[in-house]
């Protein structure tokens, strides 16, 4: 039984083995350049395993601990892609550390394993364990530079992450106490059978729901659980900031969507309730993120707030997803498409930032002045990503926003979309502030800025992806609609 199912978790197992192999090899070899190569190979092997099992019908494994379905597999591929791109971007950056290069890559891969398990977990216990696995690796990675800023960021992340974990666990305890189950589908069955018409009638369920939203809200950086973001983003190694902003956030959305849709999807009053909580939080989140981003001068900090704002848009998609449950409408794939678009765009931007800051040793926006003269290609790549983040054609960002917003309008969330669109307009201001500095500013020096070839490769992959998603989105739409189909009834 167990051996039969082992192939379905082969991606995680192989990635884990490669991570351990890297730690071991690090002790013996002097040629450290082998390590990133090995970790990329590990990720590719894992991705191959995923593609092999891609077409199997959804199945619950190990006594309903883990599910193999298109939704989870899509997220796993997304996480692996982000991991590979971050490893490529780390190539130069890691040379800064004279020790522990192996650990860096190994921790990155371990955290990826945790995130992959997280998006396929269908039991409260596996969800919690997977969350901790990814988080603990990330705590270490955030403080990896071991300077003042980095250590401070790591500590903050650790303590606040602990608080969030505790809140999540508390919420899970309420749900377990009410239903007597930890497996998501069993809880869902119980919830559906409840004779209530209103959330107020079941305080335990309500408290459990709110605590769970809060616990995951930390991971996806929703207001009011977002305060760690700017500090941690600024202090962490830039490569890890990039990883946090995409892979960790994507997995967070994967798991919150799965839990809310499966456990709290029906009856109708229940999903109406949580969709409204998410919708209101979405409005506040994007507004706070955008308004505070305007006054930032440090590019990493600016991207921290920008990622909060982007999470707000994603939550619009999440709310719309919830409202489609129990209606004739298909569950909208807007959130999934947005995550795909956001992952490529934000990574692309960060790769350019990493390459630039490697050279100029600064994260201040004013030091990006005239970057077009110092490195036309990096500036161009970053500009394309900024255009996509602002949601303008011909990039992925526009399609993603239209997808999410039109889905939300269909589900009667027009008020939220008005707020979201106004926010998009505001956000254009600070994205273009960077673009303007690069294209019109006067450079402090004429010194050229160049990137290493793995960085070029990763940046090119992101930019091509951003443009491809923007110009021929049809190719990717099927993927995203297939991924969310498991939530239909």
């Amino acid at each position: 039984m167990i051996m039969e199912h082992i192939q379905f978790i082969a991606p995680e197992i192989s990635l884990l083995c490669f991570a351990l192999l890297i730690v071991l090899l690090d002790l013996f070899i002097t040629q450290k350049r082998v390590l990133p190569v090995l970790s990329v190979i590990g990720a590719i092997v894992a991705a191959t395993f995923i593609i092999v099992i891609w077409n199997t019908p959804p199945v619950g494994l190990f006594d309903k601990m883990i599910s193999i379905d298109p939704f989870g597999l899509f997220f796993k591929l997304l996480i692996l892609a982000a991991t590979v791109l971050v490893i490529l971007a780390s190539h130069n950056y890691v040379l800064k550390f004279n020790k522990f290069q192996g650990e860096y890559y190994a921790l990155l891969m371990l955290s990826a394993v945790g995130l992959m398990l997280l998006v396929s977990a269908i039991n409260l216990i596996t969800i919690y364990v997977a969350l901790e696995l990814s988080s603990i690796s990330l705590y270490a990675l955030v403080s990896f530079l071991k300077d003042k800023k980095s250590s401070e960021a790591g500590l903050k992340y650790l303590i606040l992450g602990g608080v969030a974990s505790a809140i999540l666990l508390y919420g899970m305890a309420f749900i377990f106490g009410l239903t007597g189950n930890t497996c998501l589908t069993c809880i869902a069955e119980y919830v559906r059978g409840m004779p209530f018409k209103d959330l107020q009638e079941v305080p335990a369920l309500m408290i459990g729901l709110v605590l769970i939203i809060a616990g995951f809200g930390f991971k996806i950086a929703s207001v009011p659980f977002q305060m760690w973001v700017p500090d941690v983003y600024e202090g962490a190694p830039t490569t890890i900031t990039a990883y946090l902003s995409v892979a960790s956030k994507a997995a967070g959305f994967g798991v919150i969507a799965r839990v809310l849709m499966t456990v709290f999807g029906l009856p109708v009053w229940l999903h109406n309730d949580w969709a409204m909580i998410i919708a209101v939080l979405a409005a506040i989140t994007m507004t706070v993120g955008n308004l505070v981003a305007i006054v930032q001068t440090n590019i990493k900090r600016l991207f921290g707030y920008s990622s909060i704002a982007q999470a707000g848009y994603m939550m619009v998609g999440l709310a719309a997803m919830g409202l489609t449950m129990g209606t004739k409408e298909n569950v909208t794939g807007g959130l999934i498409f947005f995550l795909l678009s956001y992952t490529l765009t934000n990574l692309g931007a960060f790769i350019a930032i990493i390459a630039i800051s490697n050279k100029i040793n600064s994260d201040e926006i004013e030091d990006y002045n005239g970057m077009i003269k110092r490195s036309p290609l990096l500036a161009l790549g970053l500009t394309i990503c900024l255009i996509s983040l602002a949601g303008l054609p011909p990039t992925a960002g526009l399609i993603a926003k239209i997808y999410i917003f039109s889905g939300a309008v269909n589900m009667g969330l027009a008020w939220l979309v008005v707020i979201a669109v106004i926010n998009s307009v505001i956000s254009a201001y600070y994205y273009f502030k960077i673009a303007k500095a690069m294209w019109l500013g006067t450079p402090v020096t004429e010194e050229k800025v160049d990137a290493s070839w793995p960085e070029w490769l990763a940046l090119a992959a992101c930019v091509v992806g951003v443009l491809a998603l923007g110009v021929v989105p049809g190719l990717f739409m099927n993927l995203t609609t297939a991924a969310v189909r498991i939530f239909g009834i």
Binding site: A153, L160, A214, D273, T332, I402, Y403, S406, V417
Partner: protein, 642 residues
């Protein structure tokens, strides 16, 4: 006509922008003139194609050319197409935009000669033109919005072209921010439209409005939202404040902005969604009232300005008000006809002002005078432009102004009176400008606003041929462009009038016959009176300008402070409310509530110890406390309202 032609009209200037930005500027920076040639070539071909399209539209049934859409993507249950819409409105607009742009680009070769940003200038000009063409051609409101913003971006880049001048940088910012307020309305309108109709397609929206699916208050709000956007771009009261400052850009840019692109976008937008407006009497009234009020309001400020470009800027605002009035009381044809004529004479006047500056080095009319001897071509063309603007028979301005007055007269007598007073004011301030600039004694001028002073011989001189030729071409248009509607041909084009009824009246009959009607005759006499008053004050000096000024000192102060609108916006709203209020609050949020910076400057100790110290400072506790508070707040809200 091949399907690709309308596409090419947009694509050529856009490719020219990419070519200059990505190829010429990085790789051939030593040959700046290439950028000018590429732009002129692209816009020139676009212009030729535009005339072709216009010809095809005139001869096609229903004055509408079917062009197939390109299917782009299916997003959720929304099918998205990219397509162009080619009707008479589009055809007229592309001709205006490409023609004016072509003239401006040719002229700029002389004007911008030797400027270090020559290539950047042409790259932005191409982008600006391309965005305007995209806006005009798009058949989908979403893409219209994208190009609408593109036009805003282009104007921002060009107004702030000399960004090292703080006044230019500020003017660019002002234009961008003020128009943004209007855009909010436009956005809201798009969303309401989409939420009620589920489509972005202009043609579909027309159908739904005609079928009565979209009616009542919703329709009115959509119309008002669209008009708010138009107010921003077309500088209508109370969002007019950006346009006069926008003259900080190079003068050819002003010509393009004032004649064919930026400000025309707003009028075009109202015209494009005219079916929505025409189904809502309330919205029509708003358009007409704002238009008429803006017309007289801006004209009164034009009275007292001493900077020739500012006079022209307020005249643009006033004329745009006229166009809005025309749309509000008449129809698409009436408003667009004025836009069409205005484009030629206003481009002419701005380029003329640029020519004057090229020679005298100033825009301050008090430092000019007597230039008619040294700059005969500029003088003659400028006078023609002014006569046309004042609405003197048989020049272009006369015909379109006349139609607006006629429609106002039969629709709303109050607005008609306002418009008629504006005619007098317009004639007066334009000829005040003409007399102060070109007559009397030369008063010395000042250093030029740009580039190569050294090449200039001392004293005023005529501009080079590359600048004079566009002036002459535009002057010819400023005389003749109005004749196109003498027979009612232009109106017929918009009313879907194919043949037969088009030539309602013979050309000569219409041309001279108009003078036998009391209304045109009255407006003509009023305009002449305005010119005569200017003549009396500034040439003959029968009446002393100073004495009048002193007699109405408070009024003069009010006007020269532009009714204190700028002060209200800048000091009260921006400084007090936004800067000291809202933004300070955000900044405080970041530095006090949130950590601010993790720069570690707070502590002298190094390594992880200081991190711990920071923790003890309480930030992390604050964060954790916020999380807990958040949970409680959500739970309470859910319990109370859930």
């Amino acid at each position: 006509m091949p399907m690709q032609v309308p596409w090419l009209i947009f694509l050529l200037p856009f490719l020219s922008f990419l070519m200059i930005g990505l190829v010429l500027r990085p790789f051939l920076p030593r040959y700046p003139r290439l950028a000018g040639y590429v732009t002129i070539g692209a816009v020139g071909i676009s212009c030729a194609l535009s005339f072709w399209v216009l010809g095809a539209v005139i001869s096609s049934p229903g004055h509408m050319l079917p062009v197939d859409d390109i299917r782009w993507a299916v997003v959720g249950n929304l099918e998205m197409h990219i397509g162009v819409m080619v009707d008479s409105l589009t055809a007229v607009m592309v001709v205006v935009v490409t023609f004016i742009s072509l003239m401006v680009q040719i002229y700029s070769q002389g004007y911008m000669k030797g400027d270090p940003g020559y290539m950047r200038y042409y790259a932005f000009m191409s982008l600006f033109t391309a965005c305007m063409l995209g806006l005009v051609l798009a058949n989908n409101i979403l893409f219209m919005f994208v190009f609408w913003e593109g036009v805003g971006l282009g104007s921002y880049l060009l107004i702030g072209f000399w960004f090292h001048k703080p006044s230019a940088a500020n003017a660019a910012k002002k234009a961008f921010i003020v128009t943004r307020f209007g855009d909010l309305g436009f956005l809201a309108a798009i969303l309401i439209l989409f939420a009620t109709t589920g489509t972005f397609d202009t043609g579909e929206i027309y159908k739904l409005v005609a079928a009565g699916t979209l009616t009542g208050t919703t329709l009115t709000w959509v119309a008002i939202g669209i008009f708010a956007g138009a107010c921003g771009k077309s500088a209508q009261f109370p969002l007019h404040v950006w346009l006069p400052d926008a003259m900080e850009g190079p003068t050819p840019v002003s010509a393009l902005i004032h004649a064919a692109t930026m400000v025309a976008a707003g009028v075009f937008l109202v015209a494009r969604f005219y079916p929505i407006f025409s189904h809502s009497p309330e919205a029509m009234l708003v358009v007409a009232v704002i238009g008429a009020f803006t017309a007289i309001f801006a004209a009164s400020i034009g009275f007292v300005m001493n900077d020739i470009k500012r006079v022209l800027a307020y005249s643009t605002i006033s004329q745009l008000g006229y166009m809005m009035l025309g749309l509000g009381v008449g129809g698409v044809a009436i408003g667009i006809f004025h836009l069409f004529n205005h484009a030629f004479f206003k481009a002419l006047l701005f380029l003329g002002a640029g020519s004057v500056n090229h020679s005298s080095g100033t825009f301050d009319m008090r430092l000019m005078g007597g230039l008619r001897k040294s700059m005969p071509w500029t003088y003659i063309t400028f006078v023609i432009g002014s006569l046309s603007l004042a609405g003197i028979w048989p020049l272009a301005g006369f015909w379109s102004k006349d139609e607006i007055l006629m429609n106002a007269f039969s629709n709303n007598p109050t607005l008609f009176v306002l418009a008629l007073i504006t005619v007098f004011m317009t004639a007066f301030y334009m000829f005040r400008a003409v007399f102060m600039t070109f007559h009397g004694e030369y008063k010395g001028g000042a250093p030029s606003e740009h580039g190569d002073h050294d090449e200039h011989p001392q004293g005023p001189h005529e501009s080079p041929a590359v600048m004079v030729v566009p002036l002459v071409i535009l002057a010819v248009m400023a005389v003749c462009s109005g004749w196109i509607n003498v027979t009612g041909f232009f109106n017929g084009l918009f009313e879907g009038d194919v043949e037969g009824a088009v030539h309602k009246i013979g050309f000569l009959e219409g041309f001279f016959g108009t003078l036998t009607h009391p209304l045109p005759l009255a407006s003509l006499l009023i305009a002449l009176a305005g010119i005569f008053l200017a003549f009396a004050i500034y040439i003959k000096k029968w009446i002393s300008a100073e004495k009048i000024t002193n007699a109405v000192r408070p009024l003069y102060t009010l006007l020269s402070h532009k009714y204190y609108m700028d002060d209200l916006y800048e000091n009260v709203i921006v400084k007090t409310f936004l800067y000291n209020g809202l933004f300070k609050l955000f900044a405080m949020f970041d530095t006090s509530v949130v950590d601010g910076t993790v720069n570690g400057t707070a502590s002298a100790a190094s390594s992880a110890g200081s991190a711990l110290k920071k923790l003890q400072n309480g930030q992390t506790q604050v964060y954790a406390f916020t999380i807990a508070l958040g949970v409680v707040a959500i739970a309470v809200v859910v319990y109370l309202f859930g």
